[in-house]
Symmetry: C2
Amino acid sequence: MTHTLTTRLNDVDIEAVGALIGAIGADPDCASTTWRAEVTWKRAFRSEASIREFAPIPSDEPPALGGDDTAPNPVEQLLAAFGNCLAVGYAALATASDIAIHELSIALEGDLDLHPFLGLKAGHAGFHDIRAAVRLVSDAADAEIEELHDRVTTTSPVGHTLQAAVPVNVHLATK
Amino acid sequence: MTHTLTTRLNDVDIEAVGALIGAIGADPDCASTTWRAEVTWKRAFRSEASIREFAPIPSDEPPALGGDDTAPNPVEQLLAAFGNCLAVGYAALATASDIAIHELSIALEGDLDLHPFLGLKAGHAGFHDIRAAVRLVSDAADAEIEELHDRVTTTSPVGHTLQAAVPVNVHLATK
């Protein structure tokens, strides 16, 4: 490391981001990325998702939905992913704009009608509305924070995935 | 508990699901649910998502994206949530159809162009393609498995959220 954490605004390694931007400028194909997860069913409504070398993300359902309630359920995990994505966005773009963040938290909610999931009627089984309430404490001017907020919400990978109709292909093999 | 795990097909508590369906039949408003997560920024690109009483889901970015690589990143978490959701779907609907699952695993991939996230061009910052390869081992007939697969993919809450354009509102407070 060529500099200590204390010299990094928001502790963000902005030089690494700059290096990536430089690499993409030299070779735009560097920006084409593929991400992966591997899920293993653990019987009942329990499963876990393995990502690279990290501890698996466990999943279950609450008792009312027939689960053993040992872990967050998949739609809660989806909200978690969105909130974590927004946090990266604020941290990255605040640092690029020389804004120090003192505190940042995000409360997420999503509304879901269980009828389609339970086969009680056809229709949209997913969230029909998602809300995120961001609390960002900083000494920056309100106008700067508003601009930061606009940039974060218009460049969020998980946010865009939720707001767009993404092609999803689920292929089944039985061997 | 009125029965042991060994009497439960796939270990699924199908009676609890039946009870929920009965409750929704008596009062359709029971099917309107709201799910929540609370994200706290931990400096740099680290954050964690708290859901109910469970251990938080940690998040970070790989070094090339400026992170400390301590946890899966948010787009990987999104794939994890989708895979975990599909697992619940197969387990629930197989049990309802009297199909015993011996093994179930799901490999997920998503493609993402980093240009919009990094502010290098405008456009869709999210996944532009998501693929799930399901491996389901069962003694059931191929036609039964195909029907199960169709029902799972047409009733997946996370799958539908990804495939639909969901309204997302991100509200900012600075106090």
